[in-house]
């Protein structure tokens, strides 16, 4: 059934208010149940044995001693996970990533797993598993992995028929960049590097798996996509999809890192073998080593411009590290690099590179922050060369409605220009700076995503309304969706409750990624509410015994229109619900939709820093986020997304990085050595929400979750470069790196 998804301008009564979230009390009292917070009768505890080597052949795994340890109920290796993936290579990659198949591809790659009666026994059993390895040459640096003679990570990956670590090359752009550079008065070329970072969600991956002898099962898991987990897990284990019920727990952060399975298939396999429920919780050490961090990158950026500030040509050659399995990260970098600008001649090439590191996963606007770091740093350099303010240079070249984006499509109404104008008018830009302080700004883009979505809306016998959704709620989306339903039905917010359903309760919902939760479930909720209004009108008509055409729905009540019915008092939702048994049964609305046309999102950030020239240490003094939300359904949680993304970007820009030793092993697998920003590192983060409606959503909603992490690396890079008087080209700009750059500039 088709729906009118077009934006309709309207005055909102409830949408846009700052109501209390429905899960708030559970979360402040400790009652909310996350991945590790549930228990099953007779449950076992699982632990995973991981490779101590970066790259090694697994010659033999002897599990006999572990199996004999009293209290051990199951031990599995890859032999317990036969390859059922057929010709689906990406599914095979997931299987191989969950447990090594003859070869450990990175430090921390799972090689065996144990389920035992308690944690102590499981840990003891791991020590009794004897693995015979033959170490192989390894490579963890992406530039080294591209050199001739580098150790080959995957034999099936080839370039020009030869084994290669280049898993993909993606080219985007239009025009003639050579001709464009020939027209330029100024050309700046610069190379940049960014190190690998982790999403750093505070809740480690956790699940409780239970598979019965008849092949039916349940999985309780912290995930961004329980329906997708069902597809992957049932495929890998050869279970019928309908017989595996997956329930998403409350989720303690994801940021893209909980879009993929890591240990869940192992928990299911252990449960099947032991015929008992199995709980598997990763340690923080395991999360760093063997979940899915984001790419490290290296890139070459070249921008040419005329003296009047017009960019004549721009190119980017981007190399993104995928870990040990092919991904699309270089491609996404190449698509997003120049998305903020209106360019006649542009070409970007993204390379996806394999190394002996964990399989890269999405991290909030995946791949965009690194490309933006290269492009937005170079934008500053070009502006400086032609003597224009970096802000005016960006305003002059900003993409607008009708611009052909560097990655292909033609933009509708977009927010990059308005965010830049807002920056220009912001008092932050006029605040005075002192010695050793610098200001930077940068822009960012993210596509946003819609995808398969379905919801159920049910009117209870007492007239309260429950909405069941299949996207997960990681930052307040249940409040936003309740607001949308209340708005559409014309009833108070507290009369609506939104719950996340399990995979047995709804049809397939795509993973909650691409900032799609409120956008797509919101769209489906609007259509479901409209369907329910149709039912409510019909029931009122029946109660009154008048034609349904004579009944309108407004302000939460059915009203009979026309002179003939002027004596009929309006019927409330509660009154209609009470009569449901005699007017046709339960009242509900449903919707299934592919929520296409998620509105693209743009942001501009301003940052002030102070750099200590003696230590190289950087302090963030002031930070402002300006972003287009389309429509802010719940402004508190929109601001929260802006602030959270900026804070993650600050950590990435200044401090966070995966550090590998010469042995290919990860050296900083805890929050002490992989230091994310703490409360005392940050100032208040100012936000300004712009609302340029997405023409393809009834309420104008665009996703808001990801774009906020795109500009920070570059905004801080520009600020630090101005404060330190030396251009920073390597992220993170940790104190030693800044100090080295200052000293090299002096020499």
């Amino acid at each position: 059934m088709g729906h009118d998804t077009n934006y309709q301008d309207r005055d909102f009564k409830i949408v846009g208010t700052r109501v209390k979230r429905p899960d708030g009390i559970d979360k402040v009292t400790g009652r909310a149940k996350y991945g590790a917070d549930t228990f099953a009768p007779g449950q076992l505890v699982a632990k995973v044995l991981r490779s101590p080597h970066a790259h090694a052949l697994i010659k033999k795994i002897d599990i006999s001693k572990a199996e004999k340890l009293p209290g051990v109920k199951a031990v599995i290796t890859s032999a317990d996970l036969p390859d059922l993936t057929g010709s689906n290579r990406s599914m095979t990659d997931i299987l191989e990533n969950c447990m090594a198949r003859g070869r450990a591809l990175y430090h921390g790659h799972a090689v065996a797993a144990v389920a035992a009666i308690d944690e102590q026994t499981a840990k003891q059993a791991l020590k009794l598993i004897k693995v015979t390895y033959k170490q192989l040459p390894h490579v963890t640096d992406l530039d080294e992995a591209m050199l001739p003679g580098a150790p080959i990570i995957q034999d099936f990956v080839k370039q020009d028929g030869q084994p290669s670590n280049i898993a993909g090359i993606s080219t985007f752009g239009h025009g003639d960049v050579d001709a464009g550079f020939a027209e330029a008065d100024v050309i700046v070329e610069k190379s940049y590097k960014t190190e690998q970072t982790h999403q750093g969600y505070i809740e480690p991956h956790a699940c409780l798996a239970s598979v019965n002898s008849d092949g039916s099962g349940e999985l309780w898991v912290t995930t961004q996509g329980h329906f997708s987990f069902r597809v992957v897990c049932s495929t890998l284990l050869g279970l019928d999809m309908a017989k595996l019920k997956v329930t998403s727990s409350e989720i303690g952060g994801g940021f893209g890192g909980k879009t993929h399975v890591w240990t869940e298939p192992l928990a299911l396999a252990l449960s099947r073998k032991a015929n008992r429920p199995v709980k598997l919780v990763m340690t923080r050490d395991e999360v760093f080593k063997a979940s899915g961090p984001t790419s490290s990158t290296s890139m070459d950026i070249k921008i040419g411009a005329k003296k009047d500030g017009t960019i004549t040509a721009a190119t980017a050659v981007l190399r993104y590290q995928d870990g040990a399995f092919p991904g699309i990260w270089g491609m996404l970098g190449a698509m997003t690099a120049y998305a903020c600008y209106d360019l006649k001649n542009v070409k970007t090439v993204g390379h996806d590179i394999l190394v002996n590191r964990p399989k890269v996963a999405a991290y909030r606007a995946p791949s965009a922050p690194m490309a933006a770091f290269g492009v937005e740093s170079t934008m500053d350099l070009v502006a400086n060369e032609i003597g224009m303010s970096p802000l005016d240079f960006r305003i002059k070249n900003a993409a607008k409605e009708g611009t052909k984006a560097s990655y292909g499509p033609v933009y509708g109404p977009i927010g990059i220009g308005p965010t830049l104008e807002a920056v220009k008018n912001h008092p932050h830009m006029r605040a005075k700076l002192k010695k050793n302080q610098g200001r930077g700004m940068a822009c960012g883009f993210w596509f946003n995503f819609g995808g398969q979505t379905c919801v159920d809306l049910n009117v209870g016998p007492d007239g309260t309304v429950s909405l069941t959704i299949g996207t997960i709620d990681v930052g307040g989306s249940r409040a936003s969706l309740s607001l949308i339903v209340a708005e559409e039905l014309g009833i108070p917010y507290d009369q609506v409750r939104t719950n996340v359903g399990d995979t047995a309760s709804l049809g397939h919902n795509d993973t909650t990624e691409g900032s799609r939760g409120t956008f797509s479930s919101g769209m489906a909720a609007i259509f479901a509410a409209r369907e329910a209004i149709g039912v409510l009108r019909a029931r009122a008509a029946k109660m009154w015994d008048i034609p349904v055409e004579d009944v309108v729905w407004a302000n939460g009540t059915a009203t009979a229109v026309g002179d003939k019915h002027s004596n009929l008092p309006p019927l409330s939702l509660k009154q209609i619900a009470a009569k449901a048994p005699s007017t046709g049964g339960p009242i509900a609305g449903h919707n299934e939709v592919v929520a296409d046309n998620a509105g693209v999102s743009f942001a501009s950030h301003i940052c002030d820093v102070e750099v200590d020239p003696e230590t190289g240490g950087t302090k963030i003094l002031r930070y402002t986020v300006v972003q287009d939300a389309g429509k802010a359904i719940h402004p508190d949680y929109v601001e929260g997304q802006f602030q959270g993304g900026a804070a993650q970007g600050i950590g990435w820009a200044l401090n966070e990085e995966y550090i590998y030793g010469a042995d290919g092993c990860l050296q900083n697998t805890g929050f002490l050595d992989y230091r994310i920003p703490v409360c005392s590192d940050l100032p208040f983060i100012d936000t300004q929400i712009l609302e340029i409606p997405n023409p393809n959503h009834p309420y104008g909603v665009r996703g808001v979750g990801e774009t906020s992490i795109v500009p920070p690396l570059a905004a801080i890079g520009n600020a630090v470069s101005h404060a330190a008087g030396v251009r920073m080209t390597h992220i993170p700009m940790s104190a030693p790196r800044i100090l080295k750059a200052i000293e090299e500039a002096k020499a």
Partner: protein
């Protein structure tokens, strides 16, 4: 495995549990007593998600052994509600949208309460340093600091 019987007071109630001598208090609370409000984010005392009080002192439950709780008073997030009423910190965290995913929230509440017990009128900087042992990856701390400021103000009125 050697088990030991531990007698303790949790949120004012007498509680006994038996645990192995090498088990951390966080695991005892979560797996034996059934109090899952304290979370394990790291297991190394770096994230503060398992913040509790032990005889009034703020500690990470992942760095204390279960047996060390013997004869001592434990305070957890489950004990913040008094007489069925949310603590002002709990109210303000909800009101100010100071949580997104909420996994760090119990730890922040326990740590913030410990701060306000010692210092009812902390400056922004004092709040930021007092909470620097609690990691939040969602909020950028902005709304958390504002919620603690609002709760402190509310509590000073009483």
């Amino acid at each position: 495995m050697t088990g030991v019987l531990v007698s303790t007071t949790i949120n004012g109630d007498p509680v006994q549990f038996a645990c192995p001598t090498d088990e951390v208090l966080l695991d005892s609370l979560r797996n034996r007593v059934g109090l899952t409000g304290a979370k394990e984010g790291c297991g190394t005392g770096d994230c503060g998600s398992c913040s509790i009080t032990l005889d009034g002192r703020l500690v990470c439950a992942c760095l204390v052994l279960g047996v060390e709780a013997n004869g001592r008073e434990i305070g957890t997030v489950e004990g913040l509600v008094e007489n069925g009423k949310l603590h002002p910190l709990q109210e303000k965290f909800i009101e100010h949208a100071a949580l997104q995913c909420g996994i760090c929230t119990p730890g922040f509440l326990v740590a913030a309460k410990a701060l306000l017990t010692k210092n009812p009128n902390p400056s922004e900087e004092q709040i930021r340093y007092a909470l620097a042992g609690n990691l939040c990856r969602c909020t950028g701390y902005d709304k958390i600091v504002r919620a603690v400021q609002a709760a402190a103000k509310e509590m000073r009125k009483k």
